[in-house]
């Protein structure tokens, strides 16, 4: 069982690097989708032995929303925006990966330093959670495109969710659903905003367009 958890966590870290190094938007969206599914499996596997109906249904719905519904929305937003399907980072991909490696180091150190009263099933859990959040923040800070920033936000959210799984946090179902709903509606609203951003560009002259893309 521990091996399964560890392999999920390694995959989670790899998707983080995928997000940092991919130049294609589609690959980044897929990385986030994989993360969503991985986290759903993780949340179920972690509570083996004390499984409940809600304990399965919640991670399952989370995996469906984060692994399929949101990526579908984002793919649609990408198609409708119909801009260059490249990530266009402010910093180079090499630098992104170096930043990611540094984030991994910091996460391992933090995971080592923090003492939890109930030990998580794997010593990799807390570092992997922090790493995923940090990757999200790096992506938000270093990418120009609105869509990529949404991906960064989702990675940040995934990291926080993984931390919740790591400390075996039992939030009431209503709250879990509320959090999931907030993430879903949040990405939905951001998707609408992206649609408007792309439409807005159609009738602004190119000079302004360049000034805007730089900031959005």
């Amino acid at each position: 069982m521990n091996q399964l958890i560890n392999s999920i966590l390694v995959l989670l870290v790899l998707t983080g690097f995928m997000l940092l190094s991919s130049s294609r938007l589609a690959a980044c969206i897929r990385a986030i989708a994989i993360q969503g599914v991985l986290l759903g499996i993780l949340a179920i596997v972690i509570q083996v032995g004390q499984l409940s109906v809600a304990g399965v249904l919640l991670p399952l719905s989370s995996a469906i929303v984060k692994g399929f519904v949101l990526p579908w929305l984002l793919f649609r937003a990408m198609r409708e925006a119909d801009t260059v399907r490249e990530v266009e980072p402010v910093i180079s991909y090499n630098l992104s990966i170096i930043a990611g490696t540094a984030a991994l180091g910091v996460s391992l150190w933090l995971g080592h330093r923090l003492t939890l009263s109930n030990q998580p099933p794997s010593s990799l859990l807390v570092p992997a959670a922090f790493f995923t959040s940090l990757v999200g923040m790096i992506v938000i800070a270093s990418r120009q495109k609105a869509l990529t920033q949404v991906l960064g936000y989702l990675a940040l959210e995934n990291g926080v969710y993984a931390f919740g799984a790591a400390v075996a946090l039992r939030l009431p179902i209503l709250v879990e659903l509320g959090i999931l709903l907030d993430v879903f509606v949040g990405v939905f609203v951001m998707g609408i905003a992206i649609f408007h951003i792309s439409r807005e560009f159609d009738h602004i002259d190119t000079d302004k367009l360049r000034a805007r893309t730089a900031r959005l």
Partner: protein, 488 residues
């Protein structure tokens, strides 16, 4: 009864989406606002029973914020109806860049206003920390479309900034809540429920290092939403691009709700006798916010941005007040009310200026006292009030915070606080006075038949600010004292 406070506006919001007639929808907005305010006031006389197993309950602090929110919403909804009637034209020309744009559908604007009210009410009455988080995030999502009412690229950019920055902040707050859950796990594996009363009762059993980390994350997270520097960067854009009625609600009501999120954790700190750390953080962020506001208000020519930075300043004042503890906390809670009333009024008056002068640049406006006599006077009243001049409400609360600083021997804090207040007063007075005085430009004529409501609503708020400076009713004093008690 408590649940009704949330279900009523949420349900009305759903209805508003499907009502085709503008008239009917406006009646719905007004009647919801009136009923909501009536319910909130009834709650003062007949305290409602907790609902959902204690998750929703009104304490003194929550009731104050809830009532303030519904009163401001009532004012805003009357203003909004008059405003929407004037905005009915299909296209508008932008006064900065001259392009044409249209507005969002009135139905979705009204619905979002109502959803926004429901979310803010949920923040105020939520005793479960994670539920409070869900509600704060919901306020972001409900208010984002309000900022994008005028469909053009500047408001879109402001909306995007607001959505992204606040969502990131709120994600950090969620991590903070998980940290709090770790802090609330005892060595033997038993846990304390994430409810404010439970956490307060067992605050001495919390794991202190984890609690401190949780406080820091929650302060950053909710502080982003509240507009504490250096996380305030979304605030000037959003307040300047949103229609004035939405700016008034953002500044007057939403910022308080985010502040309440921080106060809930501070309550736990105080109950556990571990407030030394959180007090220091609040003081630092508060003074930094005031400093940043002073720097950006100086030389600011966009008067809506000036008001937005003034909100950053006042959020800083609130943080300082709570961080000082003792008598200053009473001042801070009182200042929540005074700031909300004053800032809401100023934004509504700014909306009137915008409609007549068609510019956000304060240097292009003069003679407001002649063109818009009532709004001009209210603008001056608001200016004096917000910069802390007697006899208005904010003077009293700012003085109480200063007194608190001196009582605690925090001389340095008191000096910095006073200097920053003076700088901001000077920086705001010059452009604001120039706008009111002088002769209006030749092309400005008194507007034809603008609705009286657009003047009456801010005038009512102006009277309230004056009253708050002269006489704070004993009922309110009692509630304020009770609220301040749990905050140290």
């Amino acid at each position: 009864m408590i649940a009704l406070l949330i279900i009523l506006p949420a349900g009305a919001g759903i209805f508003a989406l499907f009502i085709g007639s503008d008239r009917l929808r406006r009646i719905l907005l007004l009647s919801t606002a009136i009923t909501q305010t009536a319910l909130s006031i009834t709650a003062w006389m007949v305290p409602p029973a907790p609902a959902l197993g204690g998750w929703l309950a009104e304490d003194a602090l929550g009731r104050l914020i809830e009532t303030l929110t519904s009163v401001l919403f009532l004012a805003a909804s009357f203003y909004a109806v008059a405003y929407l009637r004037e905005e009915r034209r299909q296209t508008h020309s932008d006064f900065e860049e001259g392009f044409l744009f249209s507005n969002a559908r009135e139905a979705s604007f009204t619905a979002c206003l109502l959803f926004f009210l429901a979310a803010m009410t949920l923040v105020a009455v939520s005793q479960q920390i994670a539920l409070l988080w869900v509600a704060v995030e919901a306020t972001t999502l409900a208010s984002a479309p309000l900022i994008y009412f005028h469909r053009h690229h500047r408001s879109l950019e402001a909306t995007w900034k607001y959505l992204l920055i606040c969502s990131v902040g709120i994600a950090l707050a969620l991590l903070g809540i998980f940290f709090l859950a770790v802090a609330a796990t005892n060595p033997d594996g038993s846990t304390i429920a994430l409810m404010v009363p439970d956490l307060r009762a067992n605050a001495h059993r919390l794991n202190v290092p984890w609690f401190r980390a949780a406080f820091l994350l929650l302060l950053v997270g909710f502080g982003t939403k509240m507009g504490l520097a250096p996380f305030h960067t979304w605030l000037p854009d959003a307040h300047s691009e949103a229609p004035s009625v939405a700016s008034a609600l953002l500044s007057g009501a939403l910022l308080n709700c985010a502040f309440l999120g921080i106060l809930r954790v501070q309550e736990i700190s105080v109950a556990g006798g571990i407030a030394g750390f959180s007090d220091k953080l609040l003081l630092i962020f508060g003074l930094v916010s005031m400093g940043v506001a002073a720097a950006f208000i100086s030389g600011q020519t966009d008067y809506k941005r000036m008001l937005a930075y003034s909100s950053v300043e006042h959020m800083g004042i609130l943080a300082v007040g709570v961080g000082l503890g003792g008598a200053a906390v009473f001042g801070a809670v009182l200042h929540v009310i005074n700031h909300s009333l004053t800032k809401a009024m100023l934004f509504l008056v700014a909306g009137n200026f915008l409609a007549v002068y068609r510019t956000k640049n304060s240097t292009e406006i003069s003679g407001a006292l002649r063109v818009l006599p009532v709004s001009g006077v209210l603008w001056l009243v608001g200016l004096f009030a917000i910069t802390g001049s007697p006899p208005f409400g904010p003077f009293l609360s700012e003085l109480l915070i200063l007194k608190g600083a001196l009582d605690h021997g925090q001389i340095l804090v008191a000096i910095v606080y006073l200097v920053l207040l003076a700088v901001i007063m000077a920086a705001m007075a010059a452009p604001a006075l120039a706008m009111a005085q002088g002769t209006p430009g030749a092309h400005i004529s008194s507007p034809p038949e603008r609705s009286l409501t657009l003047t009456i609503v801010p005038a009512m708020l102006g009277i309230a600010i004056l009253l708050m400076g002269i006489y704070v009713p004993p009922v309110l004093t009692r509630a304020l004292r009770e609220a301040a008690l749990v905050l140290g």
